[in-house]
């Protein structure tokens, strides 16, 4: 078996860590040092009482690489838990994006119409621009941005993916 020939696949990995100085650098350094991809990264404290943060990483690789990434993450001293949401069962993932669109007349109306379909909200407005807020999985956000390109997409800011397993089980 040639491990390299296996198909690379996207995985969403949640990492529960101590919220201490340098912990994000450890995680990011591990990815860059070993040549793994980071497609999306989010981090925030989720348990202030125990000073724990949750890092959500979207990465891709062959099953052997993904296994290696998880093992390497678990090896870091301030890491409490590593969970591969992609393989551990169904999960929900969401991104939030703020999207600035510039245009006038018909394009302006069209942008509002599309925003309505995507359940995006206008959170800022001037006579020639909107800032839309959209929440959804990566595919939905991508699709919305693509449509806005034709109308007058000016700027995008995305949070990156946050994700959680479905059901009553915790990480």
């Amino acid at each position: 078996m040639n491990p390299q020939s296996e198909q690379a696949k996207q995985h969403t990995i949640s990492v529960l860590v101590d919220n201490e100085a340098g912990v994000l650098a450890r995680v990011v350094g591990l990815f860059s040092g070993r040549g793994y991809n980071i497609e999306s990264l989010t981090v925030a404290e989720v348990d202030p009482e125990n000073a724990r943060s949750r890092i959500t990483i979207v990465t891709s690789g062959t099953p052997m690489i993904i296994e290696q990434i998880k093992a390497q993450l678990k090896r870091l001293v301030p890491v409490h838990k590593v969970s591969d949401l992609t393989t551990d069962g169904p999960h929900v993932s969401r991104e939030l994006a703020l999207i600035k669109v510039i245009g006038s007349d018909e394009k302006r109306v069209e942008s509002l119409r599309i925003a309505d379909i995507f359940r995006a909200r206008a959170v800022d407005s001037t006579d020639k621009s909107f800032v839309f807020e959209i929440v959804g999985d990566t595919g939905k956000v991508d699709a919305f941005i693509k449509l806005m390109e034709k109308i007058g997409l000016a700027e995008v800011s995305r949070t990156g993916v946050v994700a959680i397993a479905r059901g009553s089980e915790g990480i």
């Binding site: 078996m1 101590d18 100085a21 040092g33 296994e67 290696q68 001293v77 409490h80």
Partner: protein, 586 residues
């Protein structure tokens, strides 16, 4: 808290003593002055003053590897810390427990580009198992105890504790070591019983089994080597060791096939290639061991015992992974073997040994003897013969041809007696490492088998050796070349010896004398034994400059990117084929 206030430096020393530290290797400087002042005021802890911080870390590695204890280093901020980086990386690659204390500028100056400031935790993050910057004196004692725990447990490794000067001078409370487990770091020690049962069944069913064991056995402690010996003897299976594992199984035993890998023996590598059940104990399928991965032991079912889950399936997919400490797993394995009344297939095993016997008869380590020039292999053989009656011989090496020849020709019967830079391949490792070993074992014979190029990389430590009157023996195989690089140039680059000739070498005899040591030289085979004898009979440090054949190459050899069954041998195959792909892997 009832205990009285101490300053930060006192807390550090108290923590070290509570951790059982007796010796530390270091070099003072501005940021660690308060700590050195406390060292001055006490007698429990002995400080060994090295001549460069890189030497301190290698010395601590030698100390750690020969004792099984944690090696401790103390250096100052900025250049002190950056000089330590090579040693830390070396310790990380070879899984050696080291705790390195680095000075740091006061916390309020961090980030200001202050004098001798470096982002030590940033720089050392990828080359340590873990590191700490202490920002609150009340964390100081806990962090130090934790650092020792992290360094020595699980898969051992180097840990850095960065100590800002104001923390060292501030006042705080000491906290003794606790037995409470770490909140997130919990290495798995016990192997899974079901997996062990599966492994035993597989082992018993094997027709062509092979034990492939590495540094993990040594790191697990002497008990692991003892258990390994019992298991190998009980099964009657052949055993090979990695460079890091030498000494884990007695080299003189008839079931030992020698070292495997790039410069391993023919029988070990072919046994790896042809085995049907591979029992990897504490080795990590390093590229110098596996050769071309796609052709690595293609027909075998693989059992892999390792304490580090990230070693499993990293390079080579395995069939029965067992995560745990070698000694714990072997103990269970032996018990299961007995209770299941497992029996090896005697008939198949006989045929397997017959095959191995054929490979052995290839006499792969053979070299052409010479009456005019000293063959480097011969020099090591004579050194081994002259020291083998001595019960406690510690060998360190630098990196290169001499290292491989030492691994091939010196026979190690016990663990913890062989110190070499395996993973990182750090030239300049051997002399400071020997110094660390000698500090730990003042009465023992410690020999650094060196090359004339490597020895120059940390030659300044001869001064440390002089200061502490350490009777370290430096046995230089002097061929006037960076031999291993020259060998590759010969094989791969048309013999264009670009920058590998060691011009303007010092007179090593005079150099020894300049450092207060004894200098000896052998240039002809008939001088070799008397020089060795004189070296061993001297109770001072010795540099023995052994002039060896300049063009000798280290064989057998699996060229980079080749498979185990594509070995090159001394006489017939010089200048054998190396693929383009292989050239990249050098």
């Amino acid at each position: 808290m009832a205990n009285k206030l101490l300053n930060g430096s006192q807390i550090v020393l108290k923590a070290l003593i509570d951790q059982g530290v007796e010796e530390i290797f270091g070099y003072p400087g501005g940021a660690v002055l308060p700590l050195y002042d406390e060292i001055f005021k006490q007698n429990k802890l002995r400080h060994i003053l090295v001549r460069q911080e890189g030497g301190a870390v290698h010395a601590a590695e030698g100390y750690a590897r020969s004792t099984g204890k944690v090696g401790v280093v103390l250096v100052t901020s900025g250049p002190g810390a950056t000089n330590a980086v090579t040693g830390l990386t070396d310790a990380l690659m070879d899984s050696i427990p080291v705790v390195c204390f680095t000075g740091q500028v006061p916390t309020h100056l961090i980030g200001n580009d202050a004098f001798q400031e470096a982002d030590t935790t940033g720089i050392t993050r990828p080359c340590t198992k873990h590191n700490y910057l202490v920002k609150d004196i009340n964390d100081l004692a806990r962090v130090i105890h934790e650092a020792f725990h992290v360094a020595r447990s699980g898969r051992p490794g180097p840990v850095v504790v960065d100590l800002p000067k104001d923390i060292l001078m501030g006042q705080g409370h000491y906290a003794p070591p606790t037995r409470a487990g770490h909140k997130s770091y919990r290495p798995q020690i016990e192997g899974d019983t079901d997996q062990i049962k599966k492994a035993v069944a597989l082992m018993a069913s094997a027709k062509r089994p092979l034990f492939y064991c590495g540094g993990g056995v040594i790191n697990s402690g002497p008990e692991a080597s003892r258990l390994l010996k019992t298991l190998v003897r009980m099964t009657g299976y052949p055993c090979t060791l990695t460079l890091m594992g030498l000494g884990a199984y007695p080299a003189s035993d008839k079931q030992f096939l020698g070292m495997l890998g790039m410069h391993g023996t023919y029988e070990a590598n072919l046994a790896m290639h042809d085995c049907d059940v591979m029992i990897n104990i504490g080795a990590r399928f390093d590229d110098r061991v596996t050769g071309r991965l796609t052709d690595f032991s293609p027909g075998s079912t693989k059992i892999h015992i390792d304490i580090d889950p990230s070693s499993i399936n990293k390079n080579v997919p395995v069939d029965v992974p067992i995560i745990g400490d070698v000694a714990h797993v072997l103990k269970k394995m032996l018990a299961v073997w007995k209770t299941e009344n497992a029996k090896p297939d005697a008939e198949a095993l006989k045929a397997w040994w017959r095959q191995i016997g054929k490979w052995r008869r290839r006499d792969c380590l053979h070299y052409a003897a010479d009456s005019k020039v000293i063959k480097p292999q011969h020099a090591i053989q004579r050194l081994y013969e002259a020291t083998k009656k001595n019960d406690d011989v510690f060998i360190t090496t630098e990196v290169g041809q001499h290292q491989m020849w030492a691994a091939q020709f010196f026979k190690f019967e016990k663990p913890n007696h062989w110190m070499t830079s395996g993973g990182l391949g750090t030239m300049g490792y051997g002399l400071p490492a020997a110094m660390g070993v000698q500090i730990a074992h003042p009465k023992a014979l410690v020999v650094d088998i060196a090359g004339e190029a490597s020895i120059m990389m940390n030659i300044q430590e001869m001064s440390t050796i002089a200061q502490y009157r350490l009777p370290v023996k430096v046995f230089i195989l002097n061929n006037h070349y960076m031999g291993m690089v020259r060998q590759w140039q010969e094989l791969l680059h048309g013999g264009r010896y670009s920058e590998t000739y060691m011009a303007a070498l010092p007179d090593f005899v005079k150099l020894a004398e300049a450092f207060g040591a004894v200098g000896l030289r052998a240039t002809r085979p008939d001088q070799l034994d008397s020089v060795i004898e004189e070296m061993l009979g001297t109770d001072k440090a010795v540099i023995a400059d052994i002039h060896v054949d300049k063009m000798e190459n280290c064989f057998p050899m699996i060229p980079s990117g080749a498979a185990h069954n594509e070995m090159l041998f001394a006489s017939v195959d010089e200048g054998g084929p190396v693929s383009e792909e292989g050239m990249v892997l050098v």
